[in-house]
Amino acid sequence: MAEVVFDKASRIYTPGAKPAVDGLDLTVADGDLVVLVGPSGSGKSTALRMLAGLEPIDAGSVRIDGRDVVDVPSKDRDIAMVFQNYALYPSKTVAENMAFPLKMRGMDKEERAQRVRQAADMLGLTEYLDRKPKALSGGQRQRVAMGRAIVREPQVFLMDEPLSNLDAKMRVQTRAQIAEMQNRLAVSTVYVTHDQVEAMTMGDKVAVLADGKLQQYATPPELYDRPINAFVAGFIGSPAMNLLDLPRSSSGVTLGGVEIPLPRDISDAAGSRDKLTVGIRPEDWVLESNDADASSVIKAVVDVVEELGSESYLYAHLAEDTGTTIVVRGPGRVGVRFGDPIAVRPNPEALHVFDAETGQRLP
């Protein structure tokens, strides 16, 4: 049980190049599951490997339970890691794989067997203990990798995209299992994924990374409701938030010839900027009747309809400005088809407004 702190930690692979992880500041509270999420190449794995001791920490420091681990080798950090491709030892059986970290720590045979049995029981692996990894399915291998991590009873779990090799259904199932197990064991966990759905569903807190820099570190609802910049706003949520660069008008901004009023605090914060990036989530559009007054609704033409059963997403372009496309959430049976006109209105309460240049949230 431990708190993990990244203190301005950086990793520079090639001297002179842009750091892969740039001054990361992050505190994982004891027992929390923190998800590092970001697009491919954003430095998530590098950050995790720095914590694991598989990459050096070129600047700043990393502390586990108050101890600076910059110069501590991997094996003395009291961590366990689950790798993306599981990294099971092919010549060893499931039981031997799970017992390996214990054996390396000199635990005696009886106790090893006992711990492996317990973990196998918990993960439903008991009947596979004598098999080699090659004779297991993807999901079973994944569980063996988990088992090898939990028998150690480490201070911190590290997981690098542990679900990315599973099919969609297994992924959802395993996701819940991992979250449940982590809750039960209450071991601090750092979990890396590129999938924002995984991040939002599993994380006690989520850290969004881009280009090696931490963008925002917050709980999932906070991240969704108050993204700190346009990048986070566009990254979190599926389908992504509509981010539109709109010109200012007297009391707000104009979209498709229609004036959208901005709340007082936002327009104050916007000051004299003549352009703003306005974010509207798909569910924050209100579908209006097509014969509503043209000055209060935005007219658009549907390009694609995705019907998901309980809801549907309409991808449309504006009638006035065909270069601008929007995504609108509608009811399950929306009754609209390709080429149909629709009329929409953004919910003024739910607007996200960002500086058009820097992408910073206003206010």
């Binding site: 694991a52 001791g53 598989l54 080798p73 991997s74 094996k75 961590i79 366990a80 890691m81 790798f83 993306q84 491709n85 599981y86 990294a87 099971l88 030892y89 092919p90 010549s91 060893k92 390996f100 970290p101 390396m104 720590r105 080699k132 990894p133 090659k134 291998r141 090898r148 150690r152 090799n165």
Partner: protein, 314 residues
């Protein structure tokens, strides 16, 4: 897939059973391959059958007209020949000893080359060179440049330690030949094992680091099992080649003194072309072929098993 499966039965009533290619067409299709097949048969099987035939004759080239059918008498003589048994033992020692030592040395060098250091490319090239040298030249090099009692480098190096003047080749003939063989075959094993080491998945090694394995445990518990099939392949290929080695024995010791450093190919050569005893040497050849077939069969089954089974776990 399903489409083809369904089409076949539908088409069969008309063609009458399965799609037939008539006999002439079959031969026409095979014809281009025939010359190679015939050539292979002529080159490998006819000499073998002739050897079988000779092995049943008493036939010494020195006594013309002495050729007569003697049944299995030659074989009885072969097994009664204590020199033959000595030579067979030499062959086993020379082959397995050289191969195993070369594998161990090759493994050490491969482990060295598998880590980055300054000048690795040059070192690797230099280490490979012995394998590229013609066996005869290599044997000469060992016999004269290295092992010669008065001019050899080895005695030169040993002089300060009071070890000069050793007659390496006369005193340790088998070991001298083996030294030359090991020198030539270590690079081969090294390359093979280096390829094996480089195919080791890095995430397994990283997992071992996180799991707390020391360098030695990682090597013993993960690297060696991973290398097993590469080692087996090296042993089998090395054995197949070295069991037939001739150049080094011929150049360095002529099998001597006595038959102390002779192996089977050299001994058979001696019997046939120096002793002119065709019947005896043919019988020996047949015995060697049979023993080699048995050994090779086991060895090949071993590597096929380890290359098709095991492995391929993610």
């Amino acid at each position: 897939m399903t489409a083809t499966l369904e089409e076949r039965p539908a088409a069969s009533p008309e063609t009458g059973g399965k799609p037939m290619i008539d006999r002439a067409e079959g031969w026409r299709r095979r014809a281009p391959l025939l010359p190679a097949l015939i050539f292979t048969i002529i080159v490998t099987q006819i000499p073998f059958i002739l050897t079988l035939w000779y092995s049943l004759q008493s036939w010494n080239l020195v006594r013309p007209g002495s050729q007569e059918f003697v049944g299995f008498a030659n074989y009885l003589d072969v097994f009664a020949d204590s020199q033959f048994r000595q030579v067979a033992l030499n062959t086993v020692i020379m082959t397995l000893g050289s191969v195993l030592i070369a594998v161990v040395l090759g493994l050490l060098l491969a482990l060295l080359l598998n880590r980055p250091f300054f000048g690795r490319g040059i070192v690797r090239t230099l280490l490979i060179t012995p394998f590229l040298i013609t066996p005869v030249a290599a044997a000469l090099l060992w016999k004269t440049v290295l092992l010669d009692p008065t001019l050899g480098l080895i005695n030169f190096v040993l002089t300060p330690f009071g070890g000069s003047g050793t007659e390496w080749i006369s005193n340790y003939p088998l070991a001298s030949v083996m030294a030359a063989l090991i020198w030539q075959w270590t690079p081969f094993m090294m390359l093979l094992l280096l390829a094996g080491l480089q195919s080791m998945p890095t995430d397994q090694l990283e997992a071992a680091r996180v799991d707390g394995a020391s360098a030695w445990s990682t090597f013993r518990e993960l690297t060696l099992p991973h290398l097993r099939r590469f080692i087996e392949l090296g042993v089998v290929l090395g054995t197949i080649y070295l069991v037939n080695i001739f150049d080094q024995v011929y150049m360095m010791t002529q099998g001597g003194p006595g038959v102390a450093s002779a192996n089977l190919p050299f001994y058979i050569y001696q019997r046939a072309f120096l002793g002119f005893d065709i019947g005896q040497s043919a019988a020996m050849g047949v015995v060697v072929v049979i023993l080699t077939l048995i050994a090779a069969n086991f060895a090949l089954r071993l590597i096929f098993k380890s290359f098709s089974g095991e492995q391929e776990a993610a």
